[in-house]
């Protein structure tokens, strides 16, 4: 059942339109992530849903009721602010208890809930501290606890984990997901951490300058971006700008000059020349030219080039490779990196190239 | 919708002021432009053509400006000092700064006589240390008037500013210092602009207060006249409320101009304030 729907909503600051005819639908009990570059309107969308912003036009329906003009405090939505917005005059405990007390809950029950929630965000023992006396990450966790504890009808998260370390971030996102699913809460989630978005969401929306460019299940988006913009955003940093097609050894091949590329089309895609091939750095493979046999050299889906830069990424190395078709970025796990200046062959696996609208 | 809400918040206060003050005052001021049923500026011309009145006006303005500037110069650093103190000390100093307001002007002027008089503490000290060989005249001069007014209004500006400074995030001062600003520069370029709203209101209160003050200038000021002397003479001794209202209107206009100027400067210093 559709719980939340934004229909043709427009939002402006002063006379500067931020969202224009924005549409969004979300099923009950689902978690939707908003992903998009800084300044594209994610916070604005959340604030609109929360009721902090008034739409210039359009309609916001929630649970079958028109929420467009419903006051914020009547909405029972939980909001985790990008800037935390903790109450400076209240202790950690009182910050978290705030919403419960407004609901006239008995102190005993308040205490139980608050302490359980502080436990979840690993802040036991910090009850008496004031926000000024906390580290950035601790503050952020208080903000999360405060929003979650009221078990709202809709949860709105604005970069809730941005100031947490990797481990805590994983723990917290698992907790958030668990609570959300256990309590059947619906949620809209903004984060810059793509792994986080993909792992936590039922739906991901990729935003571009106030519009949703693609909306879908995490695996769909991750594997099959529909546009160059989306592809680029989710890490398909390499593009092949085809100039035609030809018959190759194994079937139809896309060409750039003399180079031929075998590509697997997705359902609904034609061979029309309105596509670019996109591929992730970690899907490209490079081999020093010297290690290749002549046969290998003659295969399609290959481009020779020179390593320009090599960067250590922890797990893998990243190489900038200059080729006749432009520069490509390749991430490859290896023990001894290929040194800059070396000649390499880049391989573009046919099943990893995704055709995207230009 | 937001706008409507806002008007509901403003309405009670506005209504109250309108009924009890605005309408009466507008009628009173309005009456200064009418004589025997005809519109006239005679009352105003009478004053503005008069070099003597203009001189008094200037003296008054000078005293008020001096008082305001000194109050800021003394009050601002003290307010900053208080605002950064531990909570306990802060409370004590705030309490101490309101004490002067609890003393009657008459006894206060008496104690200024003890301090500034010919045989006062200051003159005794000056003579004893040989800085001067005979007592200097401080009491019953414009200087004494200014000292008295500063003493009267300094608490006002301190309390106002402490209230405002506490809402300025101290991280901003650190940010400025990390960019190379000395503490003083950081205060000047960051704290100062952010406290402008409080400073403006404090200064307006002091300026208007010293412009309209009657008792303190009368008690400490010696022979120098200020404009409120005229207002009082006309109103209370001569029972000439027409001229009194004219003078009051002139004073109101002056303050409006000064407040306007201050706001201009404020917007320049803190466009977001």
């Amino acid at each position: 059942m559709t719980l939340l729907s934004l229909e043709q909503v427009s939002v402006a600051y002063d006379n500067h339109l931020i969202l224009e005819n924005f549409d969004l639908k979300l099923e009950e009990g689902k978690l939707l992530s908003l992903l998009g570059p800084s300044g594209c309107g994610k916070t604005t969308t959340l604030r609109l849903i929360a009721g902090f912003l008034e739409a210039k036009g359009g309609k916001f329906m929630f649970d079958g009721r028109d929420y467009t003009h419903l006051p914020v405090n009547k909405r029972n939505f939980g909001f985790v602010f990008q800037s935390y917005a903790l109450f400076p005059h209240l202790s950690v405990y009182d910050n978290v208890a705030f919403g419960l007390r407004l609901r006239k809950m008995k102190e005993g029950q308040v205490k139980e809930k608050v302490l359980r929630m502080l436990d979840i965000v690993s802040l036991n023992g910090f009850e008496k501290r004031f926000p000024q006396e906390l580290s950035g990450g601790q503050r952020q966790r208080v903000a999360i606890a405060r929003a979650l504890v009221i078990e709202p009808d809709l949860l709105l998260f604005d970069e809730p984990l941005s100031n947490l370390d990797a481990n805590l971030r994983v723990t917290m996102r698992v907790e958030i997901r668990r609570l959300q699913q256990e309590l059947g809460m619906t949620a809209v989630y903004v984060s810059h951490d793509q792994e986080e978005c993909f792992s936590i969401s039922d739906q991901v929306a990729i935003m571009n300058a106030g519009k949703i460019e693609q909306l879908g299940a995490p695996t769909d988006i991750y594997q099959y971006p529909k546009t160059e913009y989306v592809a680029r955003f989710i890490g398909f940093n390499n593009f092949l700008v085809f100039d035609g097609t030809r018959q190759g050894n194994t079937g139809l091949e896309w060409t750039i000059g003399d180079y031929g590329f075998d590509v697997q089309l997705q359902a609904g895609q034609s061979t029309a020349n309105t596509y670019k091939g996109a591929i992730r750095p970690e899907d490209l493979r490079i081999i020093p030219l010297g290690q290749l046999t002549d046969l290998q050299k003659s295969l399609s889906n290959q481009v020779p080039g020179t390593v320009k830069v090599s960067t250590y990424l922890g797990r893998s190395y990243q190489f900038e490779v200059q080729t006749a078709l432009g520069a490509f970025t390749v991430n490859q796990e290896m023990d001894i990196p290929i040194a800059p200046g070396q000649q390499v062959m880049i391989t573009f696996p046919a099943d990893k190239i995704v055709m995207v609208a230009q | 919708m937001k706008i409507n809400k806002m008007y509901w918040l403003l309405l009670p206060g506005l209504l109250f002021l309108t009924v009890f003050m605005l309408i009466p005052i507008i009628l009173t001021i309005g009456s200064t432009f009418v004589q025997e049923g005809k519109p006239t500026l005679e009352g105003y011309l009478y004053f503005f053509k008069d070099a003597y009145f203009n001189r008094i006006l200037l003296t008054t303005l000078r005293v008020s400006v001096f008082t305001t500037v000194i109050c800021i110069a003394l009050g601002y650093p003290v307010a900053y000092y208080i605002s950064r103190l531990g909570t306990r000390k802060k409370g004590i100093l705030l309490a101490l700064s309101i004490f002067p307001l609890l003393t009657s002007p008459v006894v206060r002027s008496f104690s200024w006589m003890i301090i500034l008089g010919r045989k006062g503490l200051v003159n005794n000290a000056l003579v004893a240390t040989g800085i001067v060989d005979k007592p200097i005249e401080i009491l019953y001069t414009p200087t004494a008037m200014i000292i008295g007014l500063v003493h009267l209004f300094l608490p006002l500006i301190i309390i106002t500013l402490v209230g405002v400074m506490e809402n300025v995030d101290s991280e901003l001062i650190r940010a400025a210092e990390s960019l190379g600003a000395s503490r003083f520069t950081a205060l000047r370029k960051v704290l100062f602009p952010l406290t402008i709203p409080g400073l403006i209101i404090g200064s307006v209160l002091v300026f208007v207060g010293s412009l309209t003050a009657y008792t303190t200038p009368a008690l400490l000021g010696g022979k120098e006249r200020v404009i409120s002397t005229f207002l009082y003479q006309n109103a209370m001794t001569l029972n000439d409320w027409y001229l009194a209202s004219v003078i009051a209107t002139i004073m109101i206009v002056i303050t409006l101009v000064v407040v306007g100027l201050m706001n201009k400067v404020a917007t320049k210093l803190n466009p977001k304030g």
Binding site: - | Y52, V106, S109, F110, M113, I114, G117, R118, K119, G120, L139, Y140, A218, L219, G222, K223, R225, T229, F230, Y232, Q233, M236, T237, L238, N239, D240
Partner: protein
Amino acid sequence: GCGTTIDQNGNASTGGNADGQKELVISTWGFSEDFLQESVFQPFEKEHNVKIVLETGNNAERLNKIRQGSTNVDLIYLSDYYAQQAIDDDLLEPIDRTQLTNLDQIYDIAKAPNGEKYGPAYTVAQLGIAYNPALVSGEVTSWSDLWKPEFANNLTMPAITATAGPMMIDAASRVAGNKEFNEDAAFTQLKQLDPSVVKYYSQTSEYVNMIGQEEIAGGPIMEMYFKDIQAAVPGAKFVTPSEGAYAVINTVNIVKGSDNKELAEEFIDWQLSKDVQEKSAKAKVDSPVNKDVVLTDEEAQGITYGADIIENLRKLDMEFVNKSMPVWTDRWNREIGG
């Protein structure tokens, strides 16, 4: 205590209170309230079954209030030209002198200071000169002595707005040698005095404090305050200048529109009675105008007493003073001390 006599609602418009007791609203200065309650108001209240409610403040303030009619005052005490202002503005009810049985006991000067239609003075005091002999060489005997070098930079004078202000203009005119009042001469004369003046006082407390701290050597002052000056400067002297001291005349009048005119007249008569006058004098609250009051030397200390003094006081023409005040104030502002 006097707390019981005051209407807590401050609502004096009914002219009576809940128990049907009449209310007499008296507008006065607000000094010596304890004495007045005990010796003047309470006996009157008892005798007439009336409740006296006080409105206090200085002359100008109270005058303004009766002008606006914001409270219904029955009786008002005013000094000198403020009474005349009230008359000029038609705020006072003509008095029925036949009701004032004690009138013939009082000095002529007090009988009708503002004319027969209006109230009598219930006290007359003199304005003379007080000084500190330690700071002034030689005797001070005359108004003209103020112009002597002994007072250079050592003198205080009343401000034009003080009760004594207009009197000093008259005094200056006389010091300048004029039998008839000469305004120009007066101002020229006062201007000459200006360099000597440390401060023009508008409150008596300033005078007392200044002389106490030796900021000044002396200046014109009402005799009734001399005991305070002596407390500050034990050796101080008060003189009645040879040209004559000025009469400070305080009157009591009925306010127009009073519902209690007869009662008010009875109160005025009571205020003039030997009994009240004597008690006030002995308490050093008011100088008596009732000729029948007899005081010992000590009782007369610090108050203006005795036919010889009172009958020689100079009394200004209040109507003239009032008419001239705007001009005098303006000239004084411009020409003196500026």
